[in-house]
């Protein structure tokens, strides 16, 4: 009997735990948890210290307290998705690079912030362009704020500097696959012992979709189109993809591309830097890659800067649907974009302790500190914070005014004509999973050139047919045409 009562109590506790959010701390001010992915090494002491400073400031100014939750970037999605099942999360970062915004929204993970945003300060509203607002919206409702960063990117090839100089290659003049091919054969002849070309990362030949085709149309995972067109195709039947693969397949068969490309575990850039490979494709943006990777030279542009449908603001900040304090959470969210003092504290830490402003007015590490031993770590990994345009410019930056540089870049980017179009796949989940598996089976093998497209295309088509791909694509096309017509 006793056991039964005990079990009953436990079950009740469990049910309560599953349903109702737990009580919040009894402090007078609301404490909001802010989840940020990080790649840097940080110590809990430093984070606690910065948190203390932030709370002094935020308490005075907004009457809220912040609980910083840093999670290693590799575990971040897993950890935050779990935490979002409860009320532990208020404001969080989330990745949408592969069109996952629709996933978050379909799962009901994110709070609809449209109304909050409409009533927000002009300063916050003016921070975002229409394109950026569209990037964090679905069906006309807004679910988050994109990270302020440049749109999309261009396609280049990164080459080993020693070889370029030794062979007197004019890197900047190489802008087409044919020109690249000529150089690759020359390099291969002269340096047969190194890889002439390697994938950009592991088995992925390139991330520079500006060169291949537009993807992620309608924030789906299956709709592609050739650049500049709005005719939807399967990846494997798009012209850009076919052309890309015909080159890489020839190069692969002639031994120019590493034969282990499909099982590669390394970054292309680090192999090029080390001299074990001559070159790899790469996506680029505002900052020149040869400034980032030592011992490399950047080619001319293979494709101009373009932004795919999913390529704007692929890292966003939003409010968990289970947050107990949505209003305060929105205040915090807004402050990340409009309050430079808070944003700087959050990203760089405490001035004089984690970073200093030098006599040129730029931020750098305090004396004796490097990325490896600075305890807060934000300075080394600004990439995951909401808005780097309002932070003090870093000493290492190549521009003086981040905002102007990015605006100039954005103005020249070719944005996907289907941008802003959203196709609801929430009832197509079975198709989406089947397609994911199908694509992962062929994509890398074709792009690295390990397999010839002509050999497998009939098979791919029949498999696409069998999962109902063409019907779904036709429906998507119809919706897109309707969207474009309006």
């Amino acid at each position: 009997m006793k056991k039964k009562v005990f079990a009953g109590v436990l079950t009740a506790a469990m049910m309560a735990g599953m349903m109702a959010p737990a009580a919040v701390s009894a402090d007078e001010m609301t404490t909001l948890s802010l989840w940020i992915p990080t790649l840097a090494t940080y110590t809990d002491d430093a984070v606690a210290k910065v948190e203390g400073k932030i709370n002094e400031y935020m308490g005075d100014k907004y009457g809220i307290q912040v609980d910083l939750e840093y999670v290693e970037i590799g575990n971040f999605e897993q950890a935050v998705n779990l935490a979002m099942t409860t009320d532990e999360v208020d404001v969080t970062c989330y990745f949408t690079g592969e069109g996952q915004l629709s996933t978050y929204v379909n799962n009901g993970q994110l709070l609809d912030i449209t109304d909050y945003f409409e009533n927000a300060s002009e300063e916050l509203k003016n921070t975002f362009t229409d394109v950026e607002i569209a990037a964090s919206s679905m069906n006309g409702r807004m679910y988050g704020l994109v990270r302020k960063y440049q749109y999309g990117g261009h396609a280049v090839v990164v080459m080993n500097k020693d070889i370029v100089e030794e062979m007197k290659i004019d890197a900047a003049s190489i802008t087409t696959m044919d020109q690249l091919e000529e150089v690759l054969y020359q390099v291969h002849e002269k340096y047969p012992d190194i890889y002439t070309m390697v994938p950009q990362s592991t088995s992925e030949m390139t991330w520079a979709w500006a060169q291949v085709c537009d993807r992620g149309i309608g924030l789906t995972n299956y709709a592609y189109a050739d650049w500049g067109t709005t005719e939807l195709k399967s990846l494997f039947e798009s012209e850009g993809f076919a052309e890309f693969c015909s080159y890489t397949n020839k190069w692969y068969n002639d031994g120019l591309i590493m034969s282990d490309a499909l099982s590669n575990t390394m970054e292309g850039s680090s192999m090029v830097t080390a001299g074990s490979a001559f070159c790899c494709f790469h996506n680029g943006d505002v900052e020149p890659l040869d400034k980032i990777y030592p011992n490399t030279v950047e080619s001319g542009l293979f494709a101009p800067a373009r932004a795919e449908s999913t390529g704007i603001g692929n890292l966003q900040y939003g409010i968990s649907a289970n947050s107990a304090h949505p209003e305060e959470a929105f205040t915090l969210l807004g402050a990340m974009y409009t309050d430079p003092e808070f944003a700087t504290l959050l990203a760089y830490g405490i001035e004089g302790e984690h970073y200093v402003i030098n006599d040129k007015g730029r931020a750098e590490y305090p004396e004796g500190m490097t990325a490896e031993n600075e305890p807060y770590g934000g300075f080394a990994a600004t990439a995951t914070y909401a808005d780097f345009l309002i932070l003090p410019v870093k000493e290492t930056a190549l521009y003086d005014d981040a905002k102007a540089t990015v605006e100039e870049w954005d103005a020249n980017v070719e944005v996907s004509p289907a941008f802003g179009f959203f196709y609801d796949t929430s009832e197509l989940t079975d198709f989406v999973t089947a397609y994911s598996n199908l694509e992962s089976k062929y994509k890398d093998a074709l792009m690295t050139g390990s397999v010839a497209l002509d050999d497998v295309l009939p098979q791919i088509k029949s498999e696409l047919e069998s999962i109902g791909f063409y019907d779904v694509l036709a429906d998507t096309q119809a919706a897109l045409d309707e969207y474009l017509a309006n």
Binding site: A13, M14, A16, G17, M18, P21, A22, L39, A40, T41, Y42, T43, D44, Y70, V71, E72, I73, G74, N75, F76, Q78, A79, L82, A83, T85, T86, E88, F95, G97, E98, Y149, Q150, G153, I194, S201, T202, W207, T265, M266, E267, S269, S270, M271, A274, G275, S276, N283, D285, V286, E287, L289, I292, Y293, N314, L315, E372, A380, T382, A383, T384
Partner: protein, 295 residues
């Protein structure tokens, strides 16, 4: 006869030596990779005799010595406490199950066994531990979920008790007026040393190798165990290679641990077990002497 025996012994030693080599050589390759200079590793691939040695990996590890040692400390703490609790619960559950005279023995066995097949899944388990028990960012998070008792070990222990402890021993102890607890501790456990040690080893390894609980329930660096440090590193590398495009070219500025460092951490996570295990082996002593009991 003796000659024949010697031949058999030689063959068996030969066989085991080959097996040991199969196990050790890949490990050695890993160790060598951690001592190979990064550039050489990229250019020449993996080798047992790298062209250029480098201590960079271990210098890197030494630089973060504080983190690593703290990680060791946490691992050892969790492993010791967890193993003790687990073994105690396992033995206490297994022994009654091994008694053929226990009413509802089959029902209880089924209750136990069922947990091996079905589990509520990650999300409900997480909700319970995070919301109801509030174990996030506490040491309990590393000790309790899924590791405190495992049906597999209980079943192993039970079948050892059933097959290796003669019923007559228990009957004899009962006639001497011993309590059930007394029978267990004074009669049965001393005879179960090999199995107990095996379980200590296996449960200990489960705790030692665990990083899942850490990933789900811990964001506080002070609770990081050595496996969590290794896993964080590997997950970060995986993430960067999978979807660094999310971060744009900015990601390139972040220096990731090299293959050598990943191998180095894997090596230092394995070493302590190799040091401790030989000491456990002295309990692997043959023979239950069934003395004082009539067969």
């Amino acid at each position: 006869m003796v000659e024949h025996d010697r031949l058999q012994q030689t063959l068996m030693h030969l066989f085991m030596t080959i097996l040991v080599l199969c196990c050790v050589l890949p490990f050695l390759l890993m160790v060598m990779a951690s001592f190979t200079e990064e550039q050489t590793l990229l250019r020449n691939g993996y080798s047992f005799f790298p062209e250029k040695f480098s201590l960079e990996t271990y210098q890197y590890i030494l630089r973060s010595a504080k983190t690593i040692f703290h990680g060791y400390f946490m691992t050892i703490l969790v492993t010791v406490i967890g193993t003790v609790c687990n073994i105690a619960m396992t033995v206490l559950f297994a022994y009654p199950l091994s008694r053929k005279d226990l009413p509802y023995r089959n029902v209880l066995s089924f209750f136990l066994f069922f947990t091996m097949l079905f589990n509520g899944g990650l999300v409900p388990t997480y909700m319970m531990y995070a919301n109801t028990f509030h174990i996030k960012n506490t040491i309990w998070a590393l000790l309790i979920p899924n590791l405190m008792m495992n049906a597999f070990f209980v079943i192993m222990m039970r079948s050892f008790f059933t097959t290796s402890i003669p019923d007559s021993l228990i009957e004899a102890a009962k006639l001497d007026g011993a309590s059930e607890m007394g029978i267990l501790t004074k009669v049965i456990l001393p005879l179960s040393k090999p199995m107990l040690v095996t379980l200590v080893l296996m449960v200990g390894l489960n705790y030692w190798n665990d990083w899942m609980n850490g990933m789900y329930y811990v964001t506080d660096n002070n609770l990081n165990t050595i496996q969590m440090i290794l896993n964080n590193m590997i997950q970060n590398v995986e993430f960067l290679s999978r979807s660094a495009s999310v971060l744009g070219a900015d990601a390139a500025k972040i220096k990731m641990p090299t293959v050598g460092i990943r191998m180095g951490i894997a090596v230092i996570a394995v070493l302590p077990v190799m040091v401790i295990y030989p000491f456990l082996q002295k309990y692997f002593v043959k023979g239950i002497v069934v003395g004082g009991v009539k067969g």
